[in-house]
Structures are given as C-alpha cells and as structure tokens.
C-alpha cells in the first residue's frame, strides 16, 4: 500500500495574516505544516501499517525551497517528499495548484491512495483535492471522516449537510479528510533525527511540464482590496457572580424572552 499525502506549508496561523505588494498572502517568514494536513499524514501512516507494508510519500508546493513543514511530516513517519518550489508559481490559482500537485504525484509514479485535507488553513479555496482527482482521472471521496481499506476497496463515511453517507470506492482513489478524523502523532526524537536525512526531491514547474503557471496562468485578477466595516465592541464586564443578570436583561431588551 503506497499512499501520497498532499501537504501545505503555511504561515503560522497564530500570527495575523498580511498581503504583499501583489495582494498575495505573505509567505516570506517561517512556514509550518498546516495542522489540517497532519490528519492526512496520520491516516496514511495508519493505513500503510494496517496493510502490512508500503510507504507514505508527500507532495507539496511552496516558495523559497521551504522544507520546515515537510520535515515535520517526515518526522511523523513519511518516507520521502516531492517539493515543487519555483518563483514562477507565485500567484497560481487553485486549478494550477491542482495540476502541479497532480504532476508531482505522477513524478512519484502514482499511488494506491492520495490523501489531502478538505482545505488549507490559509487560503481555504477548498477545491484542490477534487480538482486533482479530475486531472488524474481518479474516483474521489471528499470530506471523509472515517476511512478503512479492505481488499483493495476503500470504505469511507462522507460528511453531508444532514449527516453522513457510507461510500465505497475501488483503489486507486483520492480522498479528502476532515480534521479530527484521527489523532495525529507527535514526532519522536528518533523521528525528528531521521527526517533530516530523508529525501526531498525539489523540482520546478517546468520539470513537471505544467504551463502556464503563476499570475499568467491564473484565470483571475485581484482588482481591489478594502477594509470591511468593523463591528464595534459593546459593553464588557467582569463577572462578579451576578453577570448572568446582565444577560437576562439584555435578552429582555431584545424581547426574545
């Protein structure tokens, strides 16, 4: 069982986001593994274990040859990675990103299963996994919250507006997994040391034969960026044991009780 996980390295969400001069999200500082992707990495490791053999590989796209986030996933137990790092990719839309990641998957020779998060925590376009499935001609199960593989067939519970659907799908396939689907392991000290020497194959968009990319390939142009009307803060009080009364009075004032 060979599994490829799509991972994104993002600016630390604990810091406020900012835009650069091209109105792209600033990514010049240290990048970390998107927490949403740690669930996919964990699930891949568990599925490979359950299958009794195989390996987990990573594909990622990032500026500046950044590998800090990839090393975290390698330390968890992934074997190797393909990193597409190319200044020409700045400004790429989700469709170009999907084509690039699909080409990186093919560079690895494909896999039995490809796993992605449902969306990244920084750009959250939320279309890349399903776009990749279409580029690769694969069936897909998006928003999977429980996954198992039995005899070459994937079974998943897929989140719906009303509850969930049970879905079956033959391999090879692509799935996107929701956060919380498994409990991601913490990398061990041994894992962190081992990750330093694991292979990261760094390539350019041109190596993958995908054109056009970046701003030129994007079917969109940002025309303005404005501040939304701010919502003013109201009264803030410290609870002295009687603050519930304030809430009751507030609700009465609104005539909802």
């Amino acid at each position: 069982m060979n599994i490829i996980v799509c991972v994104k390295q993002i600016p630390d969400p604990a810091n406020p986001g900012a835009l650069d001069g091209n109105n792209a999200l600033k990514r010049d500082g240290k990048l970390i593994l998107d927490e949403s992707d740690s669930y996919g990495v964990e699930m891949a490791l568990q599925l490979v274990d359950a299958a009794g053999g195989g390996e987990v590989s990573l594909v990622s796209m990032a500026p500046n040859s950044e590998t800090a986030g990839l090393r975290t996933a390698l330390a968890m137990g992934a074997a190797k990675a393909v990193l597409v790092s190319d200044p020409a990719l700045q400004g790429s839309d989700a469709l170009t990103t999907a084509k690039i990641l699909a080409a990186a998957v093919q560079r690895l020779g494909g896999a039995d299963l490809i796993i992605a998060a449902t969306e990244s925590s920084d750009g959250y376009t939320g279309t890349v996994p399903e776009q990749m499935a279409e580029v690769l001609g694969l069936p897909s199960v998006t928003f999977a919250k429980k996954v198992s593989i039995d005899g070459g067939v994937l079974k998943a519970d897929r989140q719906t507006e009303a509850g969930y659907d049970e879905v079956t799908c033959p391999l090879p396939a692509l799935i996107s997994v929701t956060a919380g689907v498994v409990e991601p392991r913490y990398p061990s000290f041994k894992g962190i040391m081992a990750a330093k020497s694991k292979p990261v194959d760094e390539v350019k968009a041109s190596d993958l034969g995908v054109t056009p990319v970046g701003w030129d390939g994007a079917g969109q142009k940002i025309t303005s960026v404005t501040q939304a009307e701010a919502r003013a803060a109201g009264e803030v009080i410290e609870d002295d044991g009687e603050a519930f009364g304030k809430i009751v009075a507030f609700l009465e004032g609104l005539k909802v009780i």
Binding site: A94, F143, G180, A228, G234, V236, I247, F250
Partner: protein
C-alpha cells in the same frame, strides 16, 4: 457578449430547494438573462419553486448512487459541448457544490473562485467579493480569460425573493459514462436527527467552545439553547476534539449563521469561527480571558467562568 445565460447548481432537501439554492437563483435572476438551475433527480417536483424565484429552466440529472461531483460536472460538460454554454455558473459553498465546481473547473480548464459573498456583472466582465482574514478585509477579483466563469458563494450572501415567475421548463440530462471517476458509490445514507430549529435557520444560537473544559459540559449549551428555543452550535476546536458532530460547527468550514442573538460560551473567537457568526444581529460572549478576540465584536461581553455563569443563567431562565 453579456452575462445573459447563467446556471445555478441547486440542492434539494425534503423535496424543496434549499434556502442557499434559492438565494443564488434570486441573485442570478437579478443579474439579468436566463437562469438554468441544475438539480438531482428529474427536476419536475421543484420546477415551480425554482421558477417562482426566477429560474427559466431546470436541468434534472438523475445520478443514482454516484457522488454528485463527477456525475453532475460530466452532465454539465455534455450540455456545454452540445452548444448550450453558460456565461456564469454559480455554486453554493457546500459539500456537493464544491465537488461539482472542482470537477467542472478541470473539464473546462477554467478557474473557480470560492467563498464569495457578492457578485457584480458589468458588460461581459464578472467580479466577485471574498472576505479574508476573518472578514476584516474584502478582496474583489475579476475573472480573466473566457467564460464560463465559475464562482461559489457562502450561504446567506443574498436574500431569497419570489419573482412570481411561472414554473421553469424541465430538461432531463443523462450522466455520460464516467469511467473510473464514477466508481465511488453511496451505499447508505445516515441522517443525524436533531430536535429544535436548524442551526443555520435558528433565531437564537448558543455555541460552546474549548472553554467548556470537557465534553460533558456541552450539556449546558444544549440546555440554554433549548430554553431560548434556539439551536446549539460549536467551535471547530470541540468538533475536532469529537465532543459534538461536525454538523454543529459554526465557522469558515462549518455553517454560517446570522441569528438575532448569538451566545458564544467559552469561545475565544478564532478567525475560523468569527467568519461564520459575525453577521449575527446581537452577540453575547462569555469567556475567562478578557483579551479574547470574541470580546472585540460582542455587544455584551462577560469576562467570567462559563461553569459559573451558564448554570445561573439557566436557573434564572427556568424560573421565568
């Protein structure tokens, strides 16, 4: 060219178009031109309701146990290839909407802009507005390249309005051979029963977060919601922790709510959460940390322990 042929991907629940779908149909109608609406099944049962909101045509696709993504996108592509090509396709920001637009985007080699809250058409140009950084900043993006333009909209971006239009004409579209992409099949459907009003339609929403400390304390949130005839909600943190089902989640990746009153109990106010509830008319926040971002948008903020404030509030309301 103008934007005069618009498609909307709509969803049907309990035999009626969802509110989010009617919002998009209404908006599409206001942009002018004809409005073709895509639905699962044969489409005849919803032709009147969709027509009343401005739809001129309904495309019904019966895709059986297939997932919507590959099936509906392939059906749309077959109609486009046959010469009926839209200038714009509008999708709800939903599970099904996201799958269909992603597949269609690759089939047509067109970009797709998601998470939008507004759209303006001018001549043959289309510009959408997307909130980022928790809604503090609005980005306007214009499609470049050729139509069809693909765009997805967050729920409650537009108001559904009746236009008094006649029932839409119905065209059945069959699903082309999907090859490998059609091998994922739904084998069972589970509906999670909820009592009381639906989270995204409730007039009062009470949400709980990590500040509740443990999953058993979520009961306080449910009790308060019930007393106020509202719906209980949750932050992503406690959904990820498995305390409550995903369907309870309010936020960027969950439901968008705009109730009269939103009570946030033990929620700090991560960007992910705020984007889903900052449109509420009145916001009450209870949190231990007086620096919590939620107080920046609350009309009434209580700096205190939810374990002390909520039981007293519940008792006071029970006594009324």
């Amino acid at each position: 060219m103008a934007i005069d042929n618009i498609w909307v991907f709509a969803q049907v629940s309990n035999g009626a178009p969802t509110t989010a779908s009617l919002e998009l149909v209404t908006k599409a109608h206001s942009l002018g031109g004809s409005v073709g609406v895509w639905v699962a099944g044969d489409g005849s049962a919803v032709a009147a309701a969709l027509g009343a909101h401005g739809a001129t045509k309904v495309y019904g696709v019966d895709y059986g146990s297939n997932l919507a993504g590959a099936a509906v996108a392939s059906a749309m592509k077959s109609v486009i290839d046959a010469g009926d090509s839209p200038d714009l396709v509008m999708f709800p920001q939903s599970y099904e909407g996201r799958d269909v637009m992603s597949r269609l985007s690759v089939k047509l080699d067109r970009t797709v802009l998601t998470n939008n809250i507004d759209i303006v058409a001018s001549g043959d140009s289309v510009t959408v507005t997307t909130p980022i950084f928790g809604g503090n900043t609005l980005v306007a993006t214009t499609f470049t390249g050729g139509a069809p333009y693909l765009a997805a909209f967050r729920p409650k971006s537009f108001a559904p309005e009746s236009t008094g239009g006649a029932a839409a004409t119905v065209q059945a579209v069959s699903v082309p051979d999907l090859g490998a992409t059609g091998t994922a099949k739904v084998t069972a459907v589970h509906v999670e029963e909820t009592t009381g009003p639906k989270l995204d339609e409730a007039d009062i929403v009470v949400s709980g977060g990590r500040g509740l400390g443990e999953s058993a304390k979520y009961e306080l949130v449910e009790q308060l919601a019930k007393l106020l005839k509202g719906a209980p909600g949750a932050s992503r943190a406690i959904v990820d922790a498995g305390w409550v089902p995903y369907s309870y989640q309010v936020g960027q990746t969950g439901k968008v709510v705009k109730p009269s009153v939103y009570i946030a109990a033990g929620i700090s106010g991560a960007t992910q959460h705020m984007v889903g509830m900052k449109g509420s008319k009145n916001i009450i926040a209870i949190n231990k940390d007086k620096e919590a971002p939620i107080f920046g948008i609350a009309d009434l903020g209580i700096v205190g322990d939810v374990h002390k404030v909520l039981p007293k509030l519940i008792e006071a309301l029970q006594g009324r």
